[in-house]
């Protein structure tokens, strides 16, 4: 039995409207309301009775859960599935699946800066024989067959600095940024070059590949603005530029999770902006990044995505979620190149459905075009 037999089919009428809503911020065509993208990952599996481990271990099941539950929650018309360590297996790490977590690295890590030179960047052909690319291709082929109207092939550069840091251990990496910056930078570049080859491979297979790349480990909790620029923003630019040259894009999702108190300023004149770019920031200090500030700083560059704090998604208090959603919607809904309401990061696996639906209710109440 295939996973597709576990789910009722998608309602074509719902999907047609959700597709228009999804296109709306990019093409200036107002639809019923602002879109909500809570960045659902393993919550989709949990909501359908599966486990977090099932979500990551069985990508076809995981992405079908995302498509199914997005429909029921009235969210995006497109599907996605990912984890934070793509391309790491090809660079020497072993990943272990966990019952309650996304896959984690069990090493082996490199411990000497000199070992960075020995890391081989796999080319597209080598990636085709690796783990990450065949897994994504298999999954998108499943979507093309079973949920074709939701298909967007996405290549993940993901958290370039965070994933590169896993190759030597995060503590070592942070230390190297002070003591061995050349080795630390070279490591990030090797991870990025591998991700670019991955985007190339996916674009060759599907004729396109949306790019998702972020700055998660590189944030103001550990880095200065200058360090975030050097290690993260500059390499995000390099990733997108090189991926475009290889035929990936033009859609980009920039995901800045974590505390970007002041370093958000380094991204505007560093990143590459395409007509189909979404820019998202999680936190400013300990608070959610205000959508009003996001609009002011980035609203003229791209479509922006505001944040509802993931921490409140697991508290039994839908009113708090509703009020924060309202505040963010009022701050960002008239952004000149469109607004999407999101969570500050992945919505937690055990997100309370009443909270998630509070975001959707707020979007209906305060995100209806023509009422502001």
């Amino acid at each position: 039995m295939g996973y597709e037999e576990l789910f009722p089919g998608m309602d074509a009428k719902w999907h047609a409207n959700a597709t228009k809503r999804f296109a709306s911020p990019f093409v200036d065509v107002p639809t019923d309301r602002i879109d909500v993208d809570p960045i659902i990952l393993s919550h989709a599996a949990v909501a359908c009775g599966f486990t977090i481990r099932d979500f990551y271990e069985k990508p076809e099941l995981g992405i079908h859960c995302v498509g199914y539950i997005s429909h029921l929650y009235d969210l995006l018309a497109v599907t996605h599935w990912f984890y934070s360590l793509p391309w790491c297996r090809e660079l020497g790490l072993t990943l272990q699946y966990k019952d309650t977590l996304p896959p984690i690295s069990t090493g082996p890590i490199i411990s000497e800066p000199g070992q960075v030179d020995n890391i081989h960047v796999p080319d597209v052909d080598e990636l085709m024989k690796g783990h990450t690319l065949p897994e994504f291709i298999r999954m998108y082929e499943y979507v093309a067959k079973n949920l074709p109207m939701t298909l967007v092939p996405i290549s993940y550069g993901f958290d370039i600095v965070g994933a590169a840091a896993e190759l030597c251990g995060v503590e070592n990496f942070i230390m190297w940024t002070f003591t061995e910056p050349d080795a630390a930078k070279k490591l990030v570049k090797k991870y990025t070059d591998t991700s670019i080859n991955g985007a190339d491979g996916l674009a060759r297979k599907f004729g396109m590949a949306m790019l998702i790349v972020g700055s998660v480990l590189a944030n103001n909790d550990i880095f200065s603005d200058e360090t975030t620029k050097e290690y993260s923003a500059d390499m995000m630019r390099y990733y997108v530029d090189q991926s475009f040259r290889r035929g990936a894009g033009p859609q980009i999702f920039y995901h800045l999770c974590g505390n970007h108190e002041t370093d958000y300023k380094v991204f505007k004149d560093t990143l590459i902006w395409s007509p189909f770019t979404v820019f998202h920031v999680g936190y400013k200090g300990k608070e959610v990044f205000p959508s009003s500030l996001l609009k002011q700083e980035f609203g003229n560059m791209a479509t922006i995505m505001g944040s509802v704090d993931t921490k409140i998604m697991i508290n039994p208090n839908p009113k708090v979620v509703y009020e924060q959603s309202k505040m963010q919607l009022l701050g960002g809904r008239d952004s000149p190149k469109g607004y999407i309401l999101g969570n500050s990061c992945e919505c937690p696996p055990y997100t309370i459905p009443g909270n998630l639906l509070a975001m959707v209710k707020a979007a209906r109440d305060f995100g209806t075009f023509g009422t502001w």
């Binding site: 200036d28 475009f244 894009g249 033009p250």
Partner: protein, 152 residues
């Protein structure tokens, strides 16, 4: 000036729906106005012909009695490049008209009445902008396709 188009380039431009007369028009205008990008002897010129912007990438061979243009490639896009949004990195190109380094940056782009930003090579002095071949034939071609689909 004579314009030479090698057979392999003829094949490419044929597939892209570009006429040899278009190429001649682009090169002639660029050579008389000096409005073009240059890099190590390479030239990149553009001209609006009908609904599309036609670009020609060419070298100039100077003989004893005359010079001729050898075409390396030609391509088009329909999206309209408007004002410069920012200029944030080196492009390697020089704006021949201004004799100034052109930057890698962003311009406002308009297609089907929608205005969004996109990358381009820009000259901050004269305000002109250009899309390199990879950008026009891959990224902007996909952008045009998405706009057509999403506006439908």
């Amino acid at each position: 000036m004579d314009i030479k188009i090698p057979d392999n380039v003829k094949e490419v431009i044929g597939k892209r729906g570009i006429k040899e007369a278009d190429i001649e028009a682009v090169v002639k205008e660029a050579e008389s106005s000096n409005k073009k990008l240059v890099k190590n002897g390479r030239n990149l010129a553009k001209k609006k012909i009908g609904d599309v912007l036609v670009y020609v990438d060419y070298d100039i061979d100077k003989g004893v009695l005359s010079k001729h243009a050898k075409v390396n490639s030609a391509y088009t896009h329909r999206i309209v490049l408007q004002h410069i949004v920012n200029a944030d990195g080196p492009s390697g190109w020089t704006c021949a008209h201004c004799n100034e380094a052109a930057a890698f940056g962003h311009v406002q782009m308009e297609y089907m009445t929608v205005k969004r930003n996109g990358p381009a090579v820009v000259c901050a002095k004269c305000g002109d902008s250009w899309a390199e071949e990879y950008l026009a034939t891959k990224t902007l071609a996909a952008v045009e396709g998405l706009f057509e689909k999403k506006r439908a």
